[in-house]
C-alpha cells in the first residue's frame, strides 16, 4: 500500500462517525427545558427553595443570616425591656 493510499484510508476512517440515535432529541429536550425555565417567574418561591437547597454555601448563608437576625431581635427586645 502506498503512503498516499494509507493516508487517504486513514482520513476516510476518521471521517466516519456514529452518534447515538436520540442525539437530536436530547438537544431538543434541553432546549425545551430552557424555554420552560425562561417562562417561570423570577421570584418563584418554589424556585428559590430549590436554589437554596441545591447549594451548600447558600444554605449555610441563609441559616446564618436567620440566626443573626434572631439574635439581634432578642437583644433589641431585652434592651427595650431593661430600658423601661
Amino acid at each position: 500500500m502506498k503512503s498516499e493510499e494509507i493516508y487517504n484510508t486513514w482520513k476516510e476512517r476518521k471521517s466516519q462517525i456514529d452518534i447515538r440515535e436520540n442525539f437530536a432529541d436530547e438537544v431538543m429536550n434541553n432546549i425545551y427545558q430552557y424555554e420552560r425555565d425562561k417562562g417561570r417567574p423570577l421570584f418563584d418561591v418554589q424556585r428559590l427553595i430549590e436554589l437554596i437547597s441545591a447549594h451548600r454555601f447558600v444554605k449555610a448563608g441563609v441559616v446564618t443570616a436567620g440566626v443573626v437576625t434572631g439574635l439581634v431581635r432578642i437583644m433589641f427586645v431585652v434592651y427595650n425591656f431593661l430600658a423601661c
Binding site: 500500500m1 503512503s3 431538543m28 432546549i31
Partner: protein, 179 residues
C-alpha cells in the same frame, strides 16, 4: 433566501422545533470535529450537545453578513473543544504508542498499526495545528472559512497545515511501508 436561512428565521420567531433541522443537519460534522480534536469518544457528544444548546441561546447574535451559519457553529464547537482540552490531562510523547520495529503493513494488523501511528501523530500536534488540520482535512473546510473560525489570517492556516502534514509525514516514515 436559502432553506437554512428560512429555518433560522423560523427559530428566531419562536418556532423552537425548527431548530431540530439544524441539529440533524450538523450533528455529524460537529461531533466528528470535536471527537477528532479532543480525541475522546465518550465526551464528544456531550460537548456537541452543549454546542447546539449554546447556538440556540445565542442565535440572535448570529450575523449572516459576517459569516456562514456553519462557520459560526464551527466556531462555537472550536471554543468548546479548547475548553474541554484545557480540562483534559495533556498526553506526553512518551505515552504515545511507540513502534521501534519496521513493518510492512500489507495485512490488516500492520495497517491498524499504521493508523495508530497516524492517530498518535495527530494527537501529538500542537493544539492550534491539530484544530486547523481537522477543520481543513477532515471537515473539508476552505482555508478562508478555517481562518475565520480560528480568528487568524489565511497564511497562518496554510503554515499550520504544512507543519502538521510534515509532522504526520514524519510519523509515517517511522514505519517502512514501501519496500
Amino acid at each position: 433566501m436559502t432553506q437554512e436561512t428560512k429555518v433560522l428565521h423560523q427559530v428566531l420567531e419562536g418556532d423552537t422545533e425548527s431548530f431540530r433541522h439544524i441539529v440533524e443537519r450538523y450533528e455529524k460534522p460537529i461531533v466528528r470535529m470535536i471527537r477528532n480534536i479532543i480525541n475522546n469518544r465518550e465526551s464528544c457528544e456531550d460537548i456537541a450537545q452543549d454546542v447546539f444548546f449554546t447556538a440556540y441561546r445565542k442565535l440572535a447574535s448570529f450575523d449572516p453578513a459576517r459569516s456562514k451559519f456553519s462557520t459560526w457553529l464551527f466556531t462555537i464547537a472550536r471554543n468548546k473543544s479548547i475548553n474541554a482540552m484545557r480540562k483534559k490531562r495533556p498526553v506526553s510523547m512518551s505515552e504515545l504508542p511507540h513502534n521501534s520495529d519496521a513493518h510492512n503493513p500489507s495485512d490488516e494488523l500492520a495497517e491498524r498499526e499504521f493508523f495508530d501511528k497516524l492517530d498518535a501523530g495527530l494527537e501529538a500536534l500542537p493544539s492550534a495545528q491539530k484544530r486547523t488540520f481537522v477543520l481543513v482535512e477532515f471537515e473539508n473546510l476552505s482555508y478562508a472559512e478555517t481562518a475565520q473560525i480560528e480568528g487568524v489570517r489565511i497564511g497562518t492556516i496554510k503554515s499550520r497545515i504544512n507543519r502538521a502534514k510534515k509532522q504526520l509525514a514524519k510519523a509515517m516514515k517511522e514505519i517502512r511501508y514501501e519496500k
